[in-house]
Amino acid sequence: MSSLIPTTDRWLSEARLSGDGTLRTEEMVLNIGPQHPATHGVLRVVVTLDGEKIVEAKPVIGYMHRGHEKLFEQRDFRQITNLCSRMDWLSGINNEIPASLAVERLMEIEVPRRATFLRVIMAEINRILNHLMFTGSFGLELGATTPVMYAFRERELLQSAMEMATGGRLHFGFIRPGGLKEDVPRGFVDLALRGIRQLQRAIPDYEDLLIGNEIFKARTVGVGLLDPDLAVEYGVSGPILRASGVPYDVRKAEPYLNYNEFDFNIPVGLHGDSFDRYWVLIQEMKESAKIVEQALMGLPSGSHIGQVPKRLTVPKGAIWAKAENPLGELGYYIVSDGDSRPYRMKARTPSFSNISVVPHMLRGAYVPDMVAVLGSMFFVVGDIDR
């Protein structure tokens, strides 16, 4: 008890007064992260607060920098595809595809049709897995603990389909320059189809649990507005850019694999707020499910890998190959000097650009809104830092 009064006294005697003798409020510098639930990972945002209002926000990255670009230079292209899946660990297959595309284009390898179909199936299943993760975790950040559990239930079946084919649950390492590591085992098509059907049955539940929920709307509509001009200037891509009203999707803009053969839509938001971003994610799952269904139905017979030389020596030259990662545009700029390893390999990851715009979105927001904004910016720390 004794120290109670002196402490308060000390505080009062030190009370910081402004020139006219009134009590002055101070700006508080608060670290959100690296160990904070809202940054799911080791992102750090240094925010300057006035009460609960954010005056200034500065993301600090690099806590998970693993030097991927240096490691790429020490590995041959088959090893690289296994390394790529570790950048954005929620979408392994999608990370591997553009790396293989680059090599195939440089070496002029023709990929068999069956391999292309299987790549599309796996890429889209992976996209669904990624989106399920983020739809769930966004609810979690807003205090709804249930959607994430349902999301993991739907993930499980698709995840086991992927595991059955590749043997991995996160780092699939299944794409090889020229095709796939091996063909999928019997029963894969059935299992994948079952997973897709279960997802399609469950999506209305997600929509009722969050999209239709009044509290969710109160928390997200009009929160974290991202202007399309600003988004484009910062190189934002993927669902976040589309939520701002720009229908840029690599699958449509510069079709790779055989995406131009499938019928699917591009969900586009109206205002670029957190609600639109979440909504886009849910709609994209539906569209991906449609693609997977079409691809599974039309899966041709054939080989899983094209004619690939035993030693992958890539001719001299430079190439830029990109693909639509679940989080945005992922591309590799590869410079080859004629060796089996790249001379330089730059990975352009979506989360890096997407997070660079966050300071603009947080200025003037409140601390609870920061959670809604960060949760709807859908980033993977490994994808930012590489």
């Binding site: 590995r75 088959r78 296994n82 390394l83 570790r86 069956r114 249930t146 349902y150 239930r153 595991e163 059955m164 043997g167 991995g168 780092h171 390492g173 020229g178 590591k181 091996e182 063909d183 999928v184 085992p185 019997r186 029963g187 098509v189 539940d205 009722d208 239709g212 929920n213 009044e214 509290i215 969710f216 709307k217 202007d227 399309p228 009203g245 720009v246 229908p247 449509k252 131009n260 839509n265 591009i266 969900p267 586009v268 938001g269 109206l270 609600f275 639109d276 909504w279 709609q283 899966l299 041709p300 017979s301 080989s303 899983h304 890998i305 094209g306 004619q307 690939v308 030389p309 035993k310």
Partner: protein, 197 residues
């Protein structure tokens, strides 16, 4: 031309881009959404749980699952291919040459004899390239997944341990309908018998 001038309605002129937009979803619904949500959780409460109680009930692993790399010691010829192809340099192989008489009285042949085969599982990234490249079917994926250690050093497992893990290597899986194997044998894959199944 800035993007702002090209808002959704104008941007979407291209034939193959069909867009969806969240107009309807944003309407206020005066509590109906809350009640629907309550209905969903109540419905789930009345249904049985979908999870399993892990150590008591163990889910079956698919045949391809990458648990641990097992070594079939007799098949290894100390060719070093796996150690060379490993992206992490985590396979340690030692061997020596030995002259052995193949048939009594005939010319002595030199054989490679394996002295040490160790994998540092702390470094291993479970990519499976070593299993893929082994030309003599000496490496396999086993389904063991309980081999944690108290120290990083303990994760380097030697030959005898790797050989023990051969006990639960599943047989190769049957391929999905329509699979025709590789076009031309591009990489030394493990089981050529898979073709055409």
């Amino acid at each position: 031309m800035s993007v702002a001038e090209n808002r959704v309605d104008e941007l979407v002129t291209r034939e193959e881009i069909k867009t969806l937009s969240p107009g309807e979803a944003k309407r206020t619904t005066y509590g109906i959404g809350l009640i629907k949500g309550l209905g969903i959780t109540l419905r789930h409460m009345l249904k049985p749980a979908i999870t399993i109680q892990y150590p008591d009930v163990v889910d079956e692993l698919p045949a391809r699952s990458r648990g641990v790399i097992a070594l079939k010691q007799e098949n290894c010829t100390v060719c070093m291919l796996c150690a060379r192809e490993c992206p992490d340099w985590c396979i340690y192989i030692e061997g020596h040459k030995e002259a052995r008489e193949s048939v009594a009285g005939k010319r002595a042949k030199k054989f490679n004899v394996l002295d040490r085969f160790a994998i540092d599982y702390a470094l291993c990234m479970y990519c499976g390239i070593c299993v893929e490249v082994c030309p003599y079917d000496a490496l396999f994926w086993g389904q063991e997944d309980n081999y944690s250690e108290h120290d990083v050093v303990g994760l380097t497992h030697e030959m005898d341990k790797l050989s023990q893990w051969m006990y639960n290597v599943p047989p190769p899986v049957e391929l999905e309908l329509g699979a025709m194997g590789p076009e031309v044998k591009p990489l030394p894959t493990a089981a050529p018998a898979k073709e055409g199944s």
